[in-house]
């Protein structure tokens, strides 16, 4: 029963209400963290999701898993609409969709042993007897290149990289088909980063996982992804196959992002200006194209037309009226 698209998002919006101002509740404001995302993740692929801080990429990842409640739209997982699903139904579905967190320390309960942490998913879904669960924990620890006897230790006894491996093992314990990796390596130092990336790549091919890989680091995304999507202020700006994406980026924002990757050779000339200023507040996003305030190519038209994603090449879509 393989489907072509494991996860489909349709006009997904996640808005938060934020209170601000001295007068308290009187002026409620809405943060449009995710604002109309339509996109799908293919079965067995790694989709890289890149964007700056505040672009809404983390919220999008959590919305798919319903760790935050989306405001409107629909998410379909393996052919089943998950928004509006009953709580109990959702809980059992969680076995199939997991998440790896950015902060490997904070995401492990300091009061639980590594074994308990990894086995929690098995217990929640009643998978196996106690003995089988113990065996499975050992198997998972080996899978992420840790010693099986680490199971009796506590998270604080491990380094950041090891903790992240524990986080990966916990996510994989209930044998999920889909994993959201939310900046899994950005809290780690460079050498450890590479190890974890390699581990994920390896696991993906061995276990046939579908991964949404969220990162702000284009180099990492290039390494691991089959396709790449760029997000800015709650909108998907460009989505393309990895090779296509890095060879012929189209969106002005993508081009700006590419420029901010440090070049190995400092004498290399940069054809474009580097991205200036901060991302605008998602409380009051610009009208029309949300990127126009920082876009070098913006015209008057950009303020009025909201660009939708349009196909520009095989497996390449861009949301820009000038392309």
């Amino acid at each position: 029963m393989t489907v072509e698209h494991l996860v489909e998002m349709e006009d997904l919006r996640t808005w938060f209400s934020a209170r601000s101002g001295l007068l308290g509740a009187s002026n409620k404001q809405t943060v449009k963290a995710v604002d109309g995302v339509t996109m799908s993740i293919r079965n067995g692929e790694v989709l890289g999701l890149v964007g700056e801080s505040g672009s809404g990429k983390t919220t999008l990842g959590r919305s798919i898993l319903r760790l935050v409640e989306p405001t409107s739209g629909q998410v379909t997982f393996n052919g089943r609409a998950i928004l509006g699903m009953k709580k109990s139904e959702m809980r059992s579905l969680r076995r199939e969709m997991q998440i790896i967190f950015q902060d490997p320390g904070g995401s492990l309960d300091p009061r639980m042993s590594v074994g308990e942490i990894i086995a929690e998913g098995l217990q929640v879904h009643g998978m196996g007897t106690r003995k089988e669960q113990r065996d499975r924990v050992a198997e998972l620890l080996r899978l992420v290149d840790l010693e099986p006897d680490y199971a009796v230790r506590y998270p604080h006894e491990f380094s950041g990289g090891q903790r992240q491996r524990i986080g990966v093992a916990r996510a994989l314990a209930p044998k999920p088909t889909f994993v959201v990796a939310d900046e899994p390596v950005s809290a780690l130092d460079v050498s450890v980063k590479a190890q974890i990336i390699n581990l994920l790549t390896d696991l993906k091919s061995r276990l046939g996982l579908t991964i949404l890989f969220i990162s702000h680091d284009l180099a990492v995304v290039q390494h691991i992804s089959d396709r790449v999507a760029v997000m800015y202020l709650g909108h998907i700006m460009e989505i393309a196959g990895t090779r296509e994406f890095f060879n012929s980026p189209m969106h002005p924002y993508t081009l700006a992002l590419m420029e901010s990757i440090p070049m190995p050779d400092p004498r290399t000339r940069r054809p474009f200006k580097i991205l200036e200023g901060d991302i605008p507040s998602p409380i009051n996003p610009p009208s029309g194209c949300v990127f126009r305030t920082r876009c070098e190519e913006a015209t008057a038209e950009c303020a009025s037309i909201v660009p939708g994603l349009k196909q520009v090449a095989q497996d390449h879509a861009v949301a820009c009226i000038r392309r």
């Binding site: 001295l22 007068l23 308290g24 509740a25």
Partner: protein, 306 residues
């Protein structure tokens, strides 16, 4: 600001209303008040007449409406035992309670705040430790034991001070000290921790770095900032004062409303209890409401956060 006051006032009213409901329900849980008034029972016709007279033949919600209406008309009920208006009973006794509570409160503030300061500023010296030990004792020893100790020492053995009633100014000394002991301890402890908090903050270092005299640093910068939390504590003291005066008045046979209340508990005189609870609750709510306002005036940072 106005909105904040309005919000707080609304909440205060709501609390008083909740107290009303709770008290009313509690009183009704005891069953028929006539059983308390006439423990030996009544002839049926007379009982029926009394039920109608007291409005007890109505449904409970109706009784509640009548009860609240009576309250607003200044009709607070009749004591089951003494057969006279409870409001009069409280009016007679409240003066003695207010005098005692007022004296104790003043005493505890006058001693508590400086003692707390000493405790904080001289915390590594014998004086500081001594002060805080005394405060600790005041905190952990119950009122009735302090009261009995004082009576034993100053009343029975030394014969210096009278220990029952409130006839002369000398009668005030022992009850006032007893009632003040807990408050004093609580205020001293809070002043100390609040001042220690402030002393460890950056602007204190800045003030010292500016070359200000230590005295100025402490009185101008530290005190002003450390007293803010103490003010809220003062508001909470009122509840403690009421708790304490119930015991202290009983021990010293002080003719106040605390003793009246305890007497009513023993005699199961519910109208007296009802009115007492409502009065006490209204006082506490009112004081806390005023403290909230005062708090906002003193500390400009916390405005309007409703």
């Amino acid at each position: 600001m106005l909105k904040f006051i309005g919000w707080r006032f609304g909440r205060a009213l709501l609390t008083v209303f909740a107290v009303l409901v709770a008290v009313f329900l509690a009183a009704r849980l005891t069953g028929n008040p006539l059983d308390v008034m006439y423990p030996d029972g009544l002839p049926p016709d007379q009982e029926q007449r009394l039920l109608v007279q007291y409005g007890l033949d109505k449904t409970v919600p109706e009784q509640f409406v009548n009860y609240v209406r009576d309250l607003f008309q200044g009709n607070f009920g009749i004591s089951l035992r003494e057969k006279r208006p409870v409001a009069d009973m409280y009016a007679e006794d409240i003066g003695a309670t207010l005098k005692l509570a007022g004296c104790s409160f003043l005493l505890s503030v006058i001693f508590g705040i400086p003692m707390g300061m000493i405790g904080a500023l001289k915390r590594r010296t014998g004086a500081g430790r001594l002060v805080m030990s005394v405060a600790f004792l005041g905190y952990a020893v119950p009122h009735f034991i302090i009261a009995l100790s004082l009576i034993l020492i100053f009343g029975f053995y030394l014969h210096w001070l009278p220990s029952t009633g409130n006839a002369t100014i000398w009668h005030y000394i022992l009850p006032t000290i007893t009632l003040a002991a807990h408050r004093f301890a609580s205020i001293a402890r809070h002043t100390r921790s609040s001042l220690l908090d402030v002393l460890s903050q950056d602007f204190m270092r800045t003030a010292r770095a500016k070359g200000l005299e230590e005295r100025v640093v402490i009185f101008k910068h530290a005190m002003r900032n450390s007293l803010i939390p103490v003010v809220t504590i003062l508001g909470l003291q009122i509840a403690g004062l009421i708790n304490g005066s119930i015991i202290v008045e009983t021990v010293f046979s002080w003719p106040g409303i605390g003793r009246l209340f305890v007497g009513a508990v023993m005699k199961r005189d519910f109208p007296v209890l009802q009115f007492g609870v409502i009065c006490f609750a209204a006082i506490v709510v009112l004081v806390n409401f005023m403290v909230d306002i005062l708090y906002v005036i003193i500390d400009p940072r916390i405005r309007t956060e409703a």
